[in-house]
């Protein structure tokens, strides 16, 4: 204890705030770190499951970061992945049970993808890269931040896919019936996974156009 800093850092010091906001843009887990693509393709057909999935992942990332950060000095380096996985899977099971209890229909739509949060690269990445080397509070914020960054992307992708693919948002019809009568047809390709990948590609394109520092040499 004596080796650590004695002065207390403010709860929302600039450094900590950056942990929250960084993943929203310049350090986004999907568009910049390119992690967690698989679930981003699978759950973004409609807005509702995308938001639930984003919340689930945020909760799991934040609390697994917190718990691992508490234990970081006690975890033997050789078996750290196993310890991390146990913590993550306990949290995922809890989240899964909660979803089944309160939003059963969404839980059905998400199907295996809630369980697969265990293998989500974002979580393991944050545990290894951040929680194992930082104090609990910053680790918790880092988890929330990355969850938000993931959620933001999911919501943008789901917005376009549901709007163009089904003509609805949150299940309500947005595109007026008169347009359908005039010959408009929903774009069936938006519902297929390839279009999610292309949508993410376009987002990356736009993001890099405005943030030149992200372009690789």
């Amino acid at each position: 204890m004596s080796t650590e800093k004695t002065e207390r850092e403010a709860i929302f010091s600039p450094k900590n705030v950056k942990l929250l906001t960084g993943p929203l843009n310049l350090n986004n887990p999907i568009t910049v770190q390119v992690l967690g693509i698989c679930s981003a393709l699978a759950v973004t057909v409609k807005m509702k499951p995308a938001i639930v999935m984003a919340l689930a992942l945020m909760v799991v990332t934040a609390f697994s970061n917190l718990l691992v950060s508490f234990l970081r000095n006690g975890i033997p380096a050789r078996i750290r992945i196993i310890v991390q996985l146990v913590i993550v899977s306990v949290l995922v099971i809890l989240v899964d049970q909660l979803l089944k209890a309160f939003v059963f229909d969404v839980s059905k739509q998400l199907s295996v993808y809630v369980g697969l949060i265990i293998t989500n690269c974002i979580i393991m990445g944050r545990l290894e890269a951040f929680a194992m080397a930082n104090k609990p509070w910053p680790s918790f914020l880092d988890g929330i931040g990355n969850g938000l960054g993931y959620g933001l992307l999911l919501i943008i992708v789901a917005f376009f896919r549901e709007l163009l693919g089904s003509g609805t948002l949150f299940g309500f019809q947005v595109i007026p019936q008169s347009l359908y009568n005039a010959g408009y047809v929903n774009n069936g390709m938006m519902i297929l996974p390839p279009m999610a990948l292309i949508t993410i590609g376009v987002i990356i394109w736009v993001q890099r156009y405005y943030n030149r520092s992200l372009i690789e040499k």
Partner: protein
């Protein structure tokens, strides 16, 4: 001609750096080289010095599809009136088809070239010529009744995502025209498949199924005769029906040296072989369909002649071209016979092999290097 040249020369300074419209230089350049052969030829090095540029190459392909295009227009009218039991004269048929196909061509070129010019401006490079061909191929591979707004979206998608994101003409992995068709096929299946769409404004009681559509549901009575299928008096996409005229266009491409005969030949060989294998198997009526009839149905011939031979997306090595074409032919027939969701396998087969073309080239080059190394070692050992 001279007056035009003079006019262009007079306008030129405005588009050079420092001029009034310097931002629009690439657009000006595009128009100028479209109208006149550029007088820039290679001056040094061991090159054949020829004024042929990509625009000339592309225009040959456009000329090659003109017969199928004109016939396609006539056939659109012919099939339409046939569904009403009428047989008007050639001109009426043609004019009806012209009215259907011309808007498709205008939209295809308008949207595609618009995006090409936009990208050229933003990126400050010359306008890519590739769209000259793509723009005429797209109208040939869509049904005559395709809603124009859907076509516009598909063209925009194809030009942006199949071509511009890879760096423009010459850099694309996928054939842009087929990408546009694949987009339409998956995004708006209601207007791209089934028996309703292949005849323009047909009478509802008249079945407009293409031979492929009939074969897929196992309907082999009143199947069109091979003669009709070869000469193209069948419903289908605008330019794909007449195998005869496609082959004439293909011959033109071969004589002018634009397309690869290796690819064309091996596509047909692959298709025939797969057809024969199915003939031998013969588990259902579709498999028993004579192998050569596959060649004149649907878009097989069109794909083999105009799509698979695209010099950018096909394999580049001599040996690789055989493998590339052969696999396209085999896969096309395989998809046709086995996959109930995709009546036409040619589009998917070519797109799939587009992805594998660089791999084929890689393997051919590697095996060549290996062979030569071995030969060198033998010489050294002696």
């Amino acid at each position: 001609m001279k007056a035009l040249r003079k006019f262009l020369d007079k306008q030129k300074p405005h588009f050079k750096p420092g001029g009034k419209f310097e931002k629009l230089e690439s657009s000006f350049d595009a128009f100028e080289t479209f109208l006149f052969v550029p007088n820039t030829v290679t001056h040094s090095g061991a090159h054949i010095r020829d004024a042929i540029d990509m625009k000339r190459t592309m225009i040959f392909v456009v000329l090659a599809v003109v017969p199928t295009l004109l016939f396609g227009m006539w056939n659109v009218g012919y099939e339409h009136y046939l569904s009403f039991g009428q047989h008007p004269d050639v001109l009426t048929n043609f004019l009806y088809g012209l009215g259907k196909v011309l808007p498709i061509i205008i939209v295809s070129y308008g949207v595609g070239l618009g995006i090409e010019f936009l990208f050229a401006q933003i990126r400050h490079h010359e306008v890519n010529e590739g769209y000259l061909v793509t723009g005429i191929l797209i109208p040939l591979i869509v049904p005559p009744d395709i809603p124009l707004w859907e076509l516009a979206i598909a063209v925009a998608f194809a030009v942006i995502f199949a071509k511009e994101v890879f760096g423009g003409t010459g850099m694309n992995v996928f054939n842009p025209a087929l990408t546009a068709r694949a987009f339409l096929f998956f995004a708006y299946p209601g207007n791209m498949s089934g028996e309703k769409v292949w005849i323009a404004d047909k009478l509802d009681s008249f079945s407009g199924a293409t031979p492929l559509g009939q074969a897929m549901i196992g309907n082999f009575h009143n199947f069109p005769s091979p003669h009709d299928m070869f000469f193209g008096f069948i419903p289908g996409s605008v330019g794909e029906t007449s195998t005869f005229l496609i082959l004439i266009g293909g011959l033109f491409l071969l004589i002018t040296g634009i397309a690869s005969w290796r690819i064309m030949l091996s596509v047909f060989a692959g298709g025939l072989l797969m057809g024969f294998i199915f003939n031998l198997w013969g588990a259902n009526q579709y498999m028993e369909l004579p192998a050569w009839e596959h060649m004149i149905m649907g878009g097989f011939a069109f794909g083999a002649v105009f799509m698979a031979t695209d010099p950018v997306t096909s394999a580049q090595t001599t040996k690789g071209k055989y493998y590339y074409g052969f696999l396209i032919g085999m896969l096309a027939i395989l998809i046709r016979v086995f996959n109930p969701a995709y009546p036409e396998g040619m589009m998917l087969a070519i797109l799939l092999m587009n992805v594998f073309a660089p791999l084929i080239d890689h393997i051919i080059v590697k095996s060549n290097i290996k062979k030569r190394l071995k030969r060198a070692k033998v010489v050294l050992a002696e």
